[in-house]
Amino acid sequence: MTDLAIKLTNISKKYLLHHEKPTLVESLFRKKEIFWALKNINLEIKKGDKLGIIGPNGAGKSTLLKIIAGITTPTEGKITTDGRISSLIDLQAGFHPDLTGEENIYLYGLLLGLSQSEIKANLKKIVRFSGLGKFIDAQLFTYSSGMKLRLGFSVIAHSQPEILIIDEAITAGDEKFRQKSLVKMQGFFGQKKTILFVSHHLGIVKEFCPRILWLEKGRLKTLGPSRKVISEYLKSSQEIKK
C-alpha cells in the first residue's frame, strides 16, 4: 500500500429532509426536499498525519467523519481507507444496561471492530484503566454516568486503531480520570497514528494538529498550517459579527 491512510475523491453527500417520520404514505405524496451536506470534497491524509477539522455548526464536519468511519456512504465520489478506524464520537453507543461491565466490554469491542481474542487479551488492561474495580461485574444500569464514560473510553483507548477519529474534546469522568485520559490522548498524538480531530476549541486543535481543514457549508474552504487557517477562520467569524 501507499503511505496514504485516507483518500477522498470528489466526495458529496446528499440528504433528504424529513419533516416527520418517513412513511410509505408520505413517500407517495410528498415532494422530496434535498440538502447537500458535503459537496466535492477532495482530501488526502497521509499515515501518521494529525489533521484538525474546524467549521461552524452544520458545516458538514460530522458527515465527513461518518463517511470516513464507514458509518454512512457518500452519494458521489470515492473513498479509500487503509487501517482500522476507531472513533471517539460517542462513548456509550454500544452499551446495554442489563449486561455487566465486562459483558459490555466484549460487546462494545466487537462493535468497534475488535476480535474476541483481542478483547480477551486486553481485558485486564481495560478494566484497570477504567478504574471500575469490583463494579465490573455489576449490571450497567447501576453505573453512574461517569463510570459509563470511563468504561467506554477505556475500551476505545485499548482498541489500537490505526486511524483515530475524535469528535469534540473528550471530557470523561472525574478530574483524576480526565488527567489519565488526557495523557492517553497525548500518547495517541505522539504515536504514528493517523488522527482526525474535530473541535470548537481552537486552542486545543492548534496544539495537537499541525494542519487544519476548514469546512464551510459542506465545502472545503481552506486546508493548511494550523496557525494560518485559524487566524483566517477567526477573522471571518469576526466579520460576520459586524
Binding site: 410509505l24 404514505v25 464507514g70 446495554h96 442489563d98 474476541q116
Partner: protein
C-alpha cells in the same frame, strides 16, 4: 468485511438478547414455556368445546403448531422494528447491519429449540413414539431449518424496509395477525377443501407446521409441496439478503 467478525458479533448480540431478557426475571427461562402453554389452554379450551376437527390429541396438536408459530411471529415483530430502535448503534459504529435483525431471530430460535427439546422429553416420558421414528425426526429437522431460514430472510426484508418506511412495522403486525388464521395451526390442512389447498401451499409455514404436527395428525404433506416450499424459502432468502446488502449503506441516513 471478514466473516469471522460477523459471526462473533452475531453471537455476542444474540447472547446479549437472551441474557438481557431474563436477567431480572423471577421465572427466567421458564417464560419460554409458559406463554405457549397459556395460549394452548385458551385456544384448546375454545376449540375443543366447539370443534376439534376430529383430532384426538387436540392439545398436543395445538402445542406442536403454536411453538413454531410463536417463534415466527415474535421474531418477525421484534426484528422489524429493531434497526430503528438501535439507531444509536447504526449512527455511531460501522459494522454489518444484518447482525441486528438476525440476532433477534437467532435469540428467539434458541428459545424455540429449547422448548421443542423440552416437548420431546415430555413426549419421550409419555411414550409417544410416533415422534421418534427416523422419518419423522428427519421431517422435523427439515421443517425447523425451513422455519429458521424463512423467518430470518423475511425479517431482513421487513427490518430493512422499516428503516425507509416506518409504517412497515404496522403492516407486519397486522399481516401476522391475519397470517395466524391463514396458516393451519388451530386446524389441520385436511380441513381445507381440496380446491383451496394450492393457495395454502404458497405459504411456507403451512408446510413447516404440517410437518411438525404430522406425528399427531398422521397426515402426510405431498413431497412436491415440500420441495416447492423449500425452493420458495431459498428464493426469499436470496432476495432478502440482496435487498439488505444493497440498502444497509444508507441506514444511518434514515434512522
Amino acid at each position: 468485511m471478514n466473516s469471522n467478525r460477523f459471526y462473533q458479533l452475531l453471537i455476542a448480540l444474540t447472547q446479549k438478547e437472551i441474557k438481557a431478557r431474563y436477567k431480572n426475571a423471577l421465572l427466567g427461562f421458564l417464560w419460554i414455556f409458559i406463554n405457549p402453554i397459556i395460549q394452548m389452554l385458551v385456544i384448546g379450551f375454545v376449540f375443543s368445546l366447539i370443534f376439534h376437527f376430529g383430532i384426538k390429541r387436540y392439545y398436543l396438536f395445538l402445542f406442536t403448531g403454536l411453538l413454531p408459530w410463536n417463534f415466527f411471529s415474535l421474531s418477525l415483530n421484534k426484528a422489524t422494528q429493531r434497526i430503528v430502535w438501535d439507531r444509536h448503534l447504526i449512527q455511531k459504529a460501522s459494522f454489518p447491519r444484518s447482525v441486528i435483525p438476525l440476532s433477534v431471530v437467532l435469540s428467539h430460535f434458541v428459545h424455540f429449540l429449547i422448548s421443542w427439546g423440552l416437548l420431546l422429553i415430555f413426549l419421550l416420558f409419555t411414550r409417544q413414539w410416533q415422534f421418534f421414528y427416523p422419518q419423522t425426526i428427519l421431517f422435523q429437522l427439515w421443517a425447523i431449518l425451513l422455519l429458521f431460514f424463512f423467518t430470518g430472510s423475511l425479517s431482513l426484508i421487513t427490518s430493512c424496509l422499516n428503516v425507509f418506511y416506518r409504517d412497515v412495522s404496522f403492516f407486519t403486525q397486522a399481516g401476522i395477525l391475519i397470517w395466524f388464521y391463514a396458516t393451519p395451526i388451530v386446524y389441520p390442512l385436511s380441513a381445507i377443501p381440496v380446491r383451496f389447498r394450492p393457495l395454502f401451499y404458497l405459504n411456507p409455514l403451512s408446510g413447516v407446521i404440517s410437518l411438525l404436527q404430522q406425528p399427531v395428525t398422521e397426515l402426510a404433506l405431498p413431497s412436491t409441496v415440500l420441495l416447492g416450499q423449500t425452493g420458495l424459502v431459498l428464493l426469499v432468502a436470496v432476495l432478502g439478503f440482496r435487498l439488505f446488502v444493497k440498502k444497509e449503506k444508507y441506514f444511518s441516513d434514515w434512522v
